[in-house]
Symmetry: C2
């Protein structure tokens, strides 16, 4: 199977969105970026992985917190920009990394506002994977070994953090249909069903391109 497309995947916690992206990338023989972006952004910038790891998919902390932590304003910005909260600087660095990787060719990128960062690029397909809470709790316990009595909380908190991050750095709304080209309930389709559905969408899209609704 060959593709020209960069796939971005937003996902609810426990929906298997990461796994969908991984299997999609394997099936197409293209690179897959999720946590991998942390190490690559660190390498690109010369900053430590720990810095990116701490800020991963988190919006800028409150000014009060930043002042207490001594990271606002940053004495000397990594991008030469001072007076900018640390997380915002890290976001800009990661954005450059994401643009560079997408420009290199087809790939799958999970989370991290990739759809928004790549908004001016052609051949980008933006996907959101979700599932009902019961399915996500079950998966959180089975795959991520979250204690059963903490599973609901883990799902809701992770989603809240992802939504905050996305809504802070983009002008779109996380989890709204219109933010994505395709959104799927993985509880209905399973991981492989989602992969099939995404491949089907891409083919229909290529066939239709240019025509009005």
């Amino acid at each position: 199977m060959s593709t020209q497309t960069v796939f971005t995947i937003g996902r609810q916690f426990g929906s298997g969105g990461r796994q969908v992206g991984k299997h999609l990338a394997e099936k197409l023989g293209i690179p897959f970026y999720d946590k991998e972006l942390i190490a690559i952004s660190a390498r690109d910038s010369g900053l430590s992985e720990a810095l990116f790891s701490n800020a991963d998919e988190k919006a800028t902390s409150s000014i009060f917190y930043s002042l207490v932590m001594g990271n606002y304003p940053m004495a000397s910005g990594a991008l030469g920009v001072t007076e900018m909260p640390l997380n915002d600087q890290l976001f800009l660095i990661q954005s450059k990394t994401i643009k560079r990787l997408a420009a290199e060719g087809p790939c799958v990128i999970v989370g991290r506002c990739a759809d928004y960062i790549l908004r001016d690029m052609e051949h980008v397909l933006n996907i959101f994977i979700h599932a009902d809470l019961a399915n996500r709790k079950e998966r959180a316990v089975r795959v991520y070994e979250v204690p059963e009595n903490k599973a609901e909380d883990a799902c809701l908190k992770a989603d809240k953090q992802r939504a905050n991050f996305y809504n802070y750095y983009s002008d779109r709304k996380w989890g709204m249909c219109r933010t994505y080209d395709l959104s799927l309930d993985s509880g209905k389709l399973g991981i492989e069903g989602c992969v099939e559905q995404i491949l089907g969408f891409e083919q229909l899209w290529m066939k239709n391109e240019g025509k009005a609704i």
Copy 2:
């Protein structure tokens, strides 16, 4: 092609969601209900079509408006319930109609909170069709003959009204991914592409049924 499924379709104004539903129903040889629901609900209840038409996909008007219009409280409720705003009574009647039609067999139902009304039923596939504003404006002018300088306003106002109606009568949020099983950008796929994608989803769903994510 045969199916056991009841398809519900939510849609942004100008996205072609109605047309997607119509073509899907034709392809599957099953009934299609959109504005048809007005006449059927009127027949079911013995009330006038004009009443349902005026209230179609509108949330209850404000108490002030209802008092002025003399329809709050209704002197004698159509369901024998007094002290209930007229639109709420009409919604209950239409809900009964939708449940009856869905119980009769596979069909396609557009809008009118059908997904929420049928939430306890099996084999219901909930779909949302959307597209970017430029595509929707173009379609509104071409298909619905909306004047070009009014097209944007028509799209935004219709969506606002649909969202108000849906959010008022359900405990879900109109246009959020998690409200639906599948959401599609018809600007990317076109009408026929959306139909293909929905049929693909249904097949993958039937194949997967019961398995965990």
